[in-house]
Amino acid sequence: MSACDVIVLGAGPAGASAAIEASKAGLNVVLLDAGAAAGGQVYRAPPGSFRVTDAEAMGPDFAIGDGLRQELAASPAKCFFGRSVWHIAPGFVVRAVFEGNTEVYEAPTLIVAMGTHERVIPMPGWTLPGVMGLAAATILLKSQRILPGENTVVAGTGPLLAAVAASILKGGGKVAALVELSTRMDWVKALPSLISRPDLLKRGFGWLGELRAAGVPIYRGHALTAITGDAEVTGVEIAPVDAQWRPLAGQRRTIAADSVTIGHGLVPSTEVTRLMGAKHEYRHEQGGWVALRNEDFETTIPNIFVAGDGAGIAGAAAAALRGRITGLAVARRAGRKIDASRETTLRAQLGKAERFGHAISDLMQARPGLIETMTPETIVCRCEEVTRADLDSAIRDGARDVNQMKAWTRCGMGPCQGRMCGEAAASLLAAVQGGDRSKVGQLTARPPLRPIPYEAIVGQFDYADMELPEPQPG
């Protein structure tokens, strides 16, 4: 067992920044991450076998990510990559799998910086080969330079749309169309908040300029109502939406394509804080359920802190600042000397970054009418093959809570544990309860958080040495 002062879960901008600050302040920090290097999804490093010869061509995110990785490597934090956490006991004892074996780490303080996962509200055909999330497309493009297809429809919400589309063009691919749910007016309304980051705003306009120059058709205020094809994607069907993003009847248009990338915003990954029994609240503009926390980012479970987008979507810049503040706060509370004026400066910067991040997050969040893209036959839960009709039937029978719905339909019981389907299922349940997502609850988090090889849990053992408890009463 490896004991230390702080365990940080997740090496994205938040986790890495927290580990840097806490370790530099003198704490013994262990950082665990499932990936091969620090950076998380936003600053994902290219595979170790890749050599970057032209850093500038990699874009500004690469430079920020590389800077973070260098700063982390130079800090005293001990980083362990390729670790998939599967159990956390109070106190805190963290079990993680590394190369097929369970390792145990122990610390009195835990910083949870698990980032986000992507929301996709399904539509017919979304399970076809050739369809992937915007986040998945971003990872392929950023770290591996792989295009999602030859002719791609980019659809959904938020700034990732333009970013992904521009990256596809840059990589030599073709963008069949950009289909966005928000309207120009939605963006104009968000502008006062977005102006706080002119650099990012400029980048966004740059992407749009590249799309226009390439003649990419842009449909705003439109939803993808179907992805067509038998064995693979051959095209999409789109329709204009109303203010609640409900597709309007009878106004369908088809676009030919061989691939689709789609996403409806990001959802904070709260499995660890749920597993530990922390209290959460539903914050639509921050992506959904977030752990309740104080100004030091401490949850309702003493000594468990949350940082980054996992504590509510606010973007990469805010995530890094939150991480630094959390790292300093943990050090301060452990009696280490920290630069108080620096903490004050960071908190002021955070306010500005969060303003921008929350405005973007608000733009990305799926609106209630979008559930109408799910036809009765549409598979909502891919792991257990549960359709919208199955879910509607459970709702008619009286299901009112996401865990009850899970028990009744198996929706969310499979390997993804509801990461893919949970948002869609909860939105359907909420729709019959006045649209109030907070009423339908959160899925209970259970170990091992992600599917874990049986052997990694049981370890090496000899049957002869197994000590069985006393027999149960006969």
Partner: protein, 379 residues
């Protein structure tokens, strides 16, 4: 609904509370059913779904046998498929000591009329080809099977609604007051009903309910862990158990393998089951892999927990509550998922004035057997 008078109020919507409610309502009684969460969402909805005699105490075998007969027809009766499957069960022993215990248990249960026979290793591996070569002795029972416990709540919700039971979910009972011969029952959600008789069927939460009528039920709880693998090709044919009763395992029709056996996690009445204990997960999975070696190459998708009521002598606590006229307790049944349908029906029969097929309000189950039980002050 508030202020209405019912023939009976049943507090606790687990499988026994649900079955009793259904029987009584169908016999013409007006029934109000209170459940703090959702019907069959605690022990009755999160157990591993095993329907066999392996985890049943010998003294309860006659009840379990009749209950499994009811399980065969339960989907039809409730109008919703709970996926009952009878596939037979194999109990395995790997050491001399385990073989000894297994032999004793087979004898005890056979005397209770259970069809259970000792078989050698060769026969065991014929009946269950996935069984480890190390098996020394085994027992086979043709009646072992399983149902999908997570579907129980939905099936009962539909059936009870049809039968006209007033279902109050997410309504923990917070007060029970004597009113004349009957009671006034109030929930935290503000529902108040009058009932001529009350039944406490609150499982692990019986202690708190008893206190509302001045009785101290010595009911505690155990927190059982159950794990499930990813989907696999069909490879395990039977319900597989271990001589010590520390393992039950079967493959569902969707291909996942459910692994239980009563290994304990942590939890309490306020937060519910809250913590999987890794050492007990490891123990459970090691024993499972010893029994079915192919598990080694699978992945575990989820481990979950359920609170199960536990009495000091591991026997049920069923009967009239001493000193509290017209109040009854119904709970503490080990392997309650297996036994629930029959015991719930027997209980309803007694309340309906019928002669029960097997004794229920008798000494081994009687709440008055606990010396610690302080007699009623209510009234």
């Amino acid at each position: 609904m508030t202020g209405q008078t019912y023939d009976i109020a049943i507090i606790g919507g687990g499988i026994m509370g649900c079955v009793s409610s259904l029987e009584l309502a169908e016999a013409g009684m007006s029934v109000a059913l209170f459940e703090q969460r959702f019907l069959a969402s605690s022990a009755s909805g999160v157990n591993a779904g095993t329907l066999s005699l392996t985890g049943v105490r010998s003294a309860l075998s006659p009840y379990a046998l009749r209950s499994i007969d009811l399980w065969q027809k339960l989907s039809e009766r409730l109008g919703y498929d709970i996926h009952y499957r009878r596939i037979g069960s194999v109990m395995a022993a790997f050491t001399d000591r385990e073989a000894e215990i297994l032999t004793e248990r087979v004898q005890a249960k056979s005397q209770q009329g259970v069809s259970l026979e000792l078989i050698d290793a060769k026969k065991a591996r014929e009946l269950e080809p996935a069984l480890s070569e190390d098996v020394k002795l085994a027992a086979f029972s043709p009646i072992g099977g399983y149902a999908n416990s997570s579907a129980t709540g939905r099936a009962f919700t539909l059936a009870l609604r049809r039968a006209g039971v007033a279902i109050h979910e997410q309504s923990p009972v917070t007060r029970i007051e004597r009113k004349g011969d009957g009671f006034e029952v109030t929930s935290s959600t503000g529902v108040m009903v009058h009932a001529r008789r009350i039944v406490m069927a609150g499982g692990s939460w019986l202690g708190g309910l008893g206190q509302m009528v001045g009785v101290d039920f010595p009911v505690k709880w155990r927190v059982s862990q159950v794990s499930v693998t990813e989907r696999l090709p069909k490879s395990v044919k039977r319900v597989v158990a271990h001589a010590y009763g520390l393992l039950t395992l079967k493959q569902s029709e969707n291909g996942t393998i459910l692994i239980g056996g009563g290994w304990q996690g942590k939890g309490d009445l306020e937060r519910g089951p809250s913590e999987v204990l890794p050492q007990n997960l490891v123990g459970n999975l090691q024993l499972a892999m010893r029994t079915i070696p192919i598990l080694k190459t699978t992945r575990i998708v989820r481990t979950w927990l359920g609170l199960h009521a536990h009495t000091p002598d591991a026997m049920p606590i069923i009967g009239p509550i001493p000193g509290v006229e017209n109040a009854f307790v119904l709970g503490g049944v080990r392997a309650g998922f297996t036994c629930g349908p029959y015991i719930g029906k027997l209980f309803a029969d007694i309340l309906l004035g019928k002669e029960p097929e097997l004794p229920l309000f008798h000494a081994p189950f009687n709440p008055a057997r606990f010396n610690a039980l302080s007699m009623a002050k209510a009234g």
